[in-house]
Symmetry: C2
Subunit: 519 residues, 2 copies
């Protein structure tokens, strides 16, 4: 602590109980203790901090802005770790409008980039935002392989040139960044020779202090489709009929599907009065409530992008699928003028948020879900803050083949398991990578209600095992869930341990993170 | 040798001088000696061979089909290496038409997969072929990060689940393949936790015995555009005006540009009589010769894919660019019916090959170039074989930003340097990854002509350095060129050495390959 204080100034080394308690608080139960929070302000300060940690064998847990809600927030995997808070590294280092990219530091938020792009390019470049807080870090989300919903939804695939601080304090750059004077460092993620980018993604091998993020050019035209299906068999068929459109890249993103609970949580809170305080909310009641908002059992959305003629051609083909399979559908433009005729007033704000997420702005459509069962409104002045407000919120992820029967099977398992544990199964599905569906499954609850913390963890464990038993493995993990990796083939786990030991022999970077433990 | 013979049978361990001499022969001068050629027939035999090699500290150089022409063919980087020939592992292990992928072994060739897809899917799935031999290995090309010209041109980005034999003989699978029962192992390359796929690409860290390759669904409609520009400034402008179309994914591939030499080499041989035996062929004469084939200074091609309406919309937008910038343009369908009106007869076969490459078949348009300066025709009965026929053929690669001024600058440097060394600069350019152009620059010569082997290496060295001095680094290297990697940042090189030492402490897999040497 003394050495860090000397390096950064004492104000940047936090050890007060209140600060540590806040940092130890996630949206589900965790028991790991944090020793301190260290806040370097520059890359060189990060390097110096890492060298001190390596010298003394103290473990660091790097966070960007720490808004990893539902996946553990700022909480490390193990006790006795020091949080390395990179939030002060918040510069947008470079913008190239012609080649459509920015270079950012870990503290740069979605909001910050959005405002910057509006100002510097007049909105000609779009960011692909996650549906979480506008205060989320771009790099934090990238390194967890998060996603948005536009053409650039696969964040890990739309980035290059990670600047990595190794446990030695050395600084490297991945891809063509390995050549200091490369003209294409920002433009091609593979580089020459072995590509190390993947090694530093969902990993504990280094600390990323900068990355290039590719941006989508605002298309000439965009339209957002909304559609619903009310029967499981129609859902299966719709998934199967949309698959070829996505594989053919007629659809450049989506389709996104949210179940009735995911939909309701965007526009309303738990109907305590209707249920007389009972939980969980039965599906029939949820469907009944959904009707007034024009929600169905499954609620689809996707965007069409291109020239006006391209969008017209895409729409024509998409309509063939929707007409045969969807119960209801509608299209809205970037600046929706037809909301009154299309949606009940209760959804106007939500629809605008969804459209924002599809058109280069920030929708934050997932945020209200965190307060679904909370009887008190968000407490903070500016941002909602699930950690601060005691919200219970637990995410599962799973990935299945992009096939109706797999989607239906995973959804059925999640629904049955979660309702049986007395929570509401919020399910969102998106083919982030064309051939596979990513499931984001969430339970929202109130951490103040006795027993619910334990119940959500039991539920998580059972659902997680059931999904993995079907071959539906997670896409992302939080502290407390890393043991899923014990299902790695033993030789694979041994290789990862060999690599970790070679790169980080003193185990000082994020111990336990995306590690299965000893074979 | 005894142990390998006992494992595989003596017929699969070759040590005869003729076989070794052939394996030591590339299309440019190399001096590395090969100790033996070992030919396992199954994955388990590969594992056993590797264990023997590790036990005795003998280095293995894995090849698939060994057709790495222009980049060293089968020749290892160092003396005293044993070639591990994986050509007998030639099974197409799995096909999924719905999710559009195959799982193949290293010996599976482009031709084999093409015939298989015709038979099993009636051509509903396309492969993305390289322009080289139909006998090229799919996995060999994938691991070198090769490319074709369709939507799936970036081979490394359209693959998953590498099966890797480590130097210990252990077998691992990358991505979701690390979970033995994953339902998405073939469908998502990233998996969960650190992604190791890139580590085994252009690398010496393991031997790939199987991989999943994603395939393009045959679109409802495809049209191939051909166009020419005759002035350098028009070329620059055309590159700049096509960039937004590619970034917007209106173009799902291309544009490909070949200079006049690249174009001529597809349809004719060196005009010895016209030049009275002199070399190099001056650009003015090349342009003059090109006129009769309707070739210009730069010759563009690209394909439009989609529904008929989508292609019409794309074409409309593309035409705006071509009308303003191209000197000449034409469109042809998959089964070209308008060849007579559009191209001189001298090009009908070449145009059909180009169209084949854009529509899921094998064009092999690059092959004739190998014989450009050869006074004798290809010697073999079935396949052309540049190694066997003494063809001189040397590739450079470089990558530049997708910008007219960078394309023009790199092309000017290559043209000036190569002509000064008395070779013809064949230049092909393709934005394999949207934001950057990949240059394939080739010199074709006759290895029997005294002094030309040395001249091509001197030329290579000078051009390579000049391009790197501009920041235009290679995308791929052959034996004899690995010293380009000495330009890696020292810390990056140290990290790669650390990883190599951790994974392959006895340095038995492809020593020297994509390695810079000691820092």
């Amino acid at each position: 602590m003394e050495q860090w204080s000397a390096l950064l100034g004492p104000a940047q080394v936090l050890t007060e109980a209140a600060a540590l308690a806040a940092a130890q608080t996630a949206t589900y139960p965790t028991h790991q203790r944090v020793l301190a929070i260290v806040r370097p302000g520059t890359r060189d300060e990060v390097r110096a901090c890492v060298r001190v940690a390596n010298l003394h064998g103290v473990a660091l847990y790097p966070i960007s802005t720490g808004k990893n809600w539902g996946f553990g927030s700022r909480v490390p995997c193990f006790d006795g770790t020091v949080i390395l808070d990179l939030g002060r590294l918040d510069r947008i280092v470079e913008l190239d409008e012609e080649l459509a990219y920015v270079v950012v530091e870990p503290g740069v938020t979605q909001q910050q980039l959005h405002e910057y792009l509006q100002r510097e390019t007049g909105g000609r470049l779009w960011l692909d935002a996650t549906s979480s807080s506008a205060a989320c870090s771009l790099i934090g989300n990238l390194l967890e392989r998060g996603h948005g919903v536009t053409t650039y939804c696969d964040h890990a695939a739309q980035a290059a040139d990670y600047e990595v601080i190794l446990p030695t304090g050395e600084c490297i750059h991945t891809g063509y960044g390995a050549f200091a004077d490369s003209a294409t460092r920002a433009l091609d993620a593979w580089g020459l020779g072995p590509c190390l980018t993947g090694l530093f993604s969902q990993s504990s091998f280094g600390i990323i202090t900068r990355a290039t993020i590719w941006l989508m050019r605002a298309p000439e035209h965009a339209e957002v489709a909304f559609f619903t299906v009310d029967r499981p068999d129609a859902f299966e068929r719709l998934v199967d009929e949309l698959r070829p459109l996505r594989l053919d890249r007629l659809l450049r993103c989506g389709p996104f599907f949210g179940n009735i609970y995911q939909a309701l949580q965007k526009v309303t809170k738990y109907p305590w009065e209707l249920t007389g305080g009972a939980v969980p909310l039965a599906t029939e009641i949820a469907l009944q409530l959904g009707k007034q908002h024009r929600f169905g059992l499954w609620n689809g959305s996707l965007a069409l992008y291109g020239t006006h003629d391209e969008v017209a051609a895409q729409k024509q083909r998409l309509m063939q699928v929707l007409r045969n399979n969807a119960q209801w559908h509608a299209f809205v433009d970037k600046q929706p003028s037809n909301l009154d005729q299309t949606f009940p007033a209760s959804r106007h704000s939500e629809v605008r948020s969804v459209v924002a997420g599809f058109t280069g702005a920030i929708g934050s459509t997932g945020l209200p879900a965190g307060y679904w069962r909370m009887r008190t409104p968000p407490g903070g002045p500016r941002w909602v803050d699930l950690d601060r407000d005691g919200c219970g919120f637990k995410f599962w992820t799973a990935t299945t083949p992009f096939r109706g029967r797999d989607a239906a099977r995973a959804a059925a398992i999640a629904t049955e398991t979660i309702l049986r544990h007395n929570f509401e199964p919020s399910i969102g599905i998106l083919p982030v990578r064309e051939r596979a569906l990513q499931f984001h499954i969430a339970c929202a609850y109130d951490r103040q209600v006795s027993g619910e913390d334990e119940a959500v963890m039991a539920c998580h464990e059972e659902l997680s095992e059931r999904l993995m038993d079907c071959g539906y493995y997670p896409t992302r993990l939080g502290p407390g869930s890393m043991h899923a990796l014990q299902r790695w083939e033993p030789a694979y786990n041994r290789l990862l341990q060999t690599l970790k030991h070679a790169i980080d022999p003193n185990d000082i970077i994020a111990p336990g993170r995306y590690q299965a433990g000893p074979p």
